[in-house]
């Protein structure tokens, strides 16, 4: 290879110290100066471990079993801790996933930024302060002087991630390791932060090693991609080649798992809606303390929508848009302060005549399969519990129904006696779906049902969901921030912002001709996929040519 590498990892192996289990197996890759390289893989692929071990920051439970890590001509694996520390921060910077925990909550921002600079650069306090202020301004912090004297909790997730970026880029490292830098953020904020990161690193010629589970996100910004699976690199190549002609089956699977638009379904349009919501208002009560009264917050400002039988309606919006609140209010988990919910043409409300019937017919699937299942109940008990309030079913009938639905979601009787912790995330979410469907409801509310899942698992669960929806014919309110998923599964899309519906329409209309600037902004934050030959894909950024309006960032 003719090019000079900045970082060259050769045959890196990591083992879990206690079990000698190899979690990173013989991994070799390189990063050239100024290059942006992505490492893509699902949870458990070893991508984070591999990246962290570059600076010997792997958790103490793991041990490096072999390999060399050459950075600017030195083998980091052989470097004494002192020498290594001199490189950390100054030559290699690191950005972390979780903006809520990656800054020290009890230290002023100013001190946290100053720390690295004071350690590695020979500057006096005044010069450092000037540098920090300049950098904060560049990452878009409005009041840099004030930010220095503030604590991290006073900033939003996106702002914290910017501060984090500022803290790392202050030292102008030659390599930036970004570990899922934007996973926890909204799509719109995610795009802003990533663009900023790319802009900053380009300007200073910093190479980036970007670790992510999100292939489309990585593909957008990287020159090369490394695909990891179960501790091994299965494929690496330039981003273009890899997307266009994936060679390894796992890469092909990853690409195939990326959501894409399916042909429009034919739904008879004349029928009465099954669920109707009119002018729904939800308010969160303010805290009423001993000495003060905080005013409440209105989360929904009169929202109306209608869902027809068999229809899948997607509810999208950034965090704080009120989409989850709306879902919970419709499910009867929150009492609305105003408005009406109609089911099958009749008004339902807690305590009303049709309430019981509505509760039997309206079921919910939650986002987090780890906390939505009672860990002390077996799978069969969990699913059967949903039938408890169905008086006309006998015990035997219920057992049969549970077995049937477990087969339907692809689990089968073998899982009936197991406990949730014995199941993977995808399997748990199948249980959650089974629990919702076992009563054969007419209407299902799914609140981010696949957001917590890995890409390939997500695709399977989505397929399952679509298949069950076809067969059972329930209507669905599908709440999601992930527009890719929505594009695949929804018939109709409702876009929410700040507790109001800003746009609603046919899936194709919303995705192809959005009207509202907020919808455009949301859509432009995620790439569109077009299938290419060989199982490959082409990525396209939506509405790149359209002017970005002055839309408030969440």
């Amino acid at each position: 290879m003719a090019r000079t590498e900045l970082l060259q990892v050769e045959g890196l192996s990591l083992v879990v110290a206690r079990t000698e289990l190899e979690v990173v197996k013989n991994v070799s890759f390189s990063v050239a100066p100024g290059e942006i390289v992505g490492i893509v893989g699902e949870s458990g692929s070893g991508k984070t471990l591999a990246a962290r071990s570059i600076m010997a920051l792997e958790p103490p439970a793991t041990r490096r079993a072999g390999g060399s890590i050459r950075f600017e001509g030195k083998d980091l694996a052989q470097l004494p801790p002192r020498e290594l520390r001199r490189l950390r921060g100054s030559r290699i910077g690191m950005v972390f996933q979780e903006p809520m925990t990656s800054l020290n909550p009890s230290m002023l921002i100013g001190r946290q930024l100053d720390e690295g600079l004071a350690l590695h650069r020979d500057l006096d306090a005044k010069e450092r302060r000037a540098l920090i202020l300049d950098m904060l301004r560049r990452v878009g912090i409005k009041d840099p002087e004030g930010a220095l004297e503030a604590y991290p909790h006073q900033f939003s997730g996106g702002m914290r991630q910017r501060i984090m970026l500022a803290s790392v880029m202050l030292l102008q490292p030659a390599l930036l390791v970004a570990d899922e830098p934007t996973t926890a953020l909204d799509a719109v904020v995610q795009r802003d932060v990533l663009e900023l990161m790319v802009e900053l690193t380009r300007a200073r010629g910093t190479a980036v090693l970007m670790i992510s589970h999100d292939l489309s996100m990585v593909a957008r910004y990287t020159d090369r991609i490394i695909v990891m699976c179960k501790g091994e690199i299965v494929e690496q190549g330039t981003t273009q080649d890899l997307l266009r002609q994936p060679r390894h089956p796992y890469t092909q699977k990853l690409l195939a798992a990326m959501p894409r638009r399916l042909p429009k379904r034919d739904l008879s349009t004349s029928v009465q809606p099954i669920v109707e919501v009119r002018d729904l208002v939800v308010e969160y009560r303010g805290r009423q303390g001993f000495f003060r009264k905080e005013s409440g917050k209105r989360a929904l400002h009169g929202v109306s929508l209608a869902i027809k039988p068999r229809e899948v309606v997607a509810l999208v919006g950034g965090s704080g848009s009120g989409k989850t609140t709306l879902g919970r209010a419709i499910a009867g988990l929150l009492d609305p302060a105003g408005g009406e919910i109609r089911f099958g043409g009749r008004s339902v409300r807690r305590g009303s005549e049709d309430w019981g019937n509505y509760r039997l017919n309206c079921q919910m699937v939650f986002q987090d399969p780890y906390s939505s299942l009672d860990p002390r109940m077996t799978i069969a008990d969990l699913v059967r519990e949903a039938l408890r309030l169905v008086p006309e079913m006998g015990h035997r009938e219920k057992v049969e129904r549970v077995s049937e639905i477990l087969h339907d979601v692809g689990l089968g009787d073998a899982f009936a006696g197991r406990y949730p912790h014995e199941l993977s995330g995808g399997q748990r979410q199948r249980v959650a779906i089974a629990r919702a469907l076992v009563r054969r409801p007419a209407f299902v509310i799914a609140d981010e049902p696949v957001s917590a899942l890995d890409v390939t698992v997500r695709a399977q669960v989505l397929d399952l969901f679509a298949d069950l929806q076809q067969r059972h014919g329930f209507s669905c309110l599908f709440i999601s921030h992930d527009l890719g998923v929505v594009e695949q599964i929804a018939d109709r899309v409702i876009v929410m912002q700040d507790g109001r519906i800003v746009e609603e329409g046919d899936r194709d209309t919303i995705f192809d001709q959005p009207q509202d600037p907020y919808t455009i902004k949301l859509l432009s934050a995620i790439p569109a996929l077009e299938a290419a030959a060989n199982g490959g894909v082409r990525l396209r950024w939506r509405f790149d040519d359209m002017p970005q309006g002055d839309v408030a960032t969440a």
Binding site: M55, L57, G93, P105, S106, H153, M164, G289, F290, F291
Partner: protein, 314 residues
């Protein structure tokens, strides 16, 4: 900040009031007539009714409570039945003795336990960690009176380095006073250290897992700086709360240790007055202990934002 303080202080008022009612009621529930008890077998009906009059026992219970409660506010907790001394100065005298021992013991326990716990967490699963956790668990499991007795036997009887029983106040003879309270302090110190090491280790482990610690390391900071600057403040919060609870507990209840070492502290006063059915002193002690507990925890809470600035934000 002022509002935070005001709120926290005002929130203690109902607690103290309920405590006062409970203490008052508790004594009234005990069968027997305090007046008869105070006069003993010398009682004649006229003297009895006279005393009942003076003690306010002729009034209805709410009125009695109101009078008693009003007196408390003027710092009047009544007089001891056995010694006729006013109760408050008596309690304060004894409390001062207990407080000295407890504060010194807890201070040293904190100074040793917090770093020890942090180091154990830092080197989790190492031999050092094992030793520290093992020692902490043993210290924690040993009852204080037994630990005290062991110290007495070793340093008092075998080695004869320290006096076995008694108490000398600092104003009389500072050196002797020191010799007399070394062992009680050591007993409490060892016992509380066990609890605090475990707490400090647990909360440090929690913090060391978080990204900002890795971030601090990724900045190139030395391990010492990572622990001191980034881990300590965030990990100390839970330990600090525990220190408050421990202090509150001990200040009211080192009766066992005081009994072992025959120290005239607050705990002993309470135990003795219970044996003597000296109701005003019992009431006073209980109320005072509750008061100290509440005050210590308010102080601890008010200082908490020093370690975690997120607390005031709420």
């Amino acid at each position: 900040m002022l509002r935070f303080i005001a709120r926290r202080v005002l929130m203690a008022v109902p607690t103290l009031f309920i405590m006062a009612v409970s203490v008052f009621a508790l004594i009234r529930f005990i069968p027997g007539d305090p007046a008869a008890l105070m006069l003993g077998d010398m009682a004649d009906p006229a003297g009895l009714s006279d005393l009942r009059e003076r003690l306010g026992l002729n009034h209805s219970l709410p009125v009695q409570f109101a009078i008693w409660f009003g007196n408390i506010f003027q710092g009047d907790l009544g007089h001891s039945i056995t010694s006729s001394q006013p109760v408050l100065p008596l309690i304060l005298d004894r409390f001062w003795i207990s407080a000295k021992i407890v504060l010194i013991a807890v201070l040293f326990a904190t100074l040793v336990a917090v770093p020890a716990g942090m180091i154990a967490a830092w080197r989790q699963n190492s031999l050092l960690d094992l030793v520290l956790v093992g020692a902490a668990t043993i210290l924690l499991s040993v009852p204080t009176f037994w630990l005290g007795l062991l110290l007495l036997i070793l340093f008092g009887l075998k080695l004869e380095w320290l006096p076995i029983v008694g108490y000398v106040s600092f104003s009389e003879d500072p050196l002797a006073a020191l010799l007399y309270i070394v062992m009680p302090i050591a007993t409490l110190f060892l016992h509380e250290m066990g609890v605090l090491i475990r707490m400090s280790r647990a909360s440090t482990l929690e913090v060391l897992r978080l990204d900002y610690i890795t971030h601090a390391r990724a900045k190139g900071l030395s391990e010492g700086a990572v622990l001191m600057r980034h881990a300590f403040k965030n990990a100390f919060g839970p330990t600090w709360t525990l220190i408050g609870l421990v202090l509150g507990n001990l200040l009211g209840g080192i009766a066992v240790v005081e009994t072992v070492f025959t120290i005239p502290g607050l705990g002993r006063l309470l135990v003795d007055s219970i044996f003597a059915r000296d109701y005003p002193v019992i009431q006073g002690c209980l109320l005072f202990i509750a008061f100290v507990y509440v005050v210590v925890n308010i102080v601890v809470d008010l200082l908490y934002p020093v370690f975690d600035p997120r607390v005031t934000a709420e």
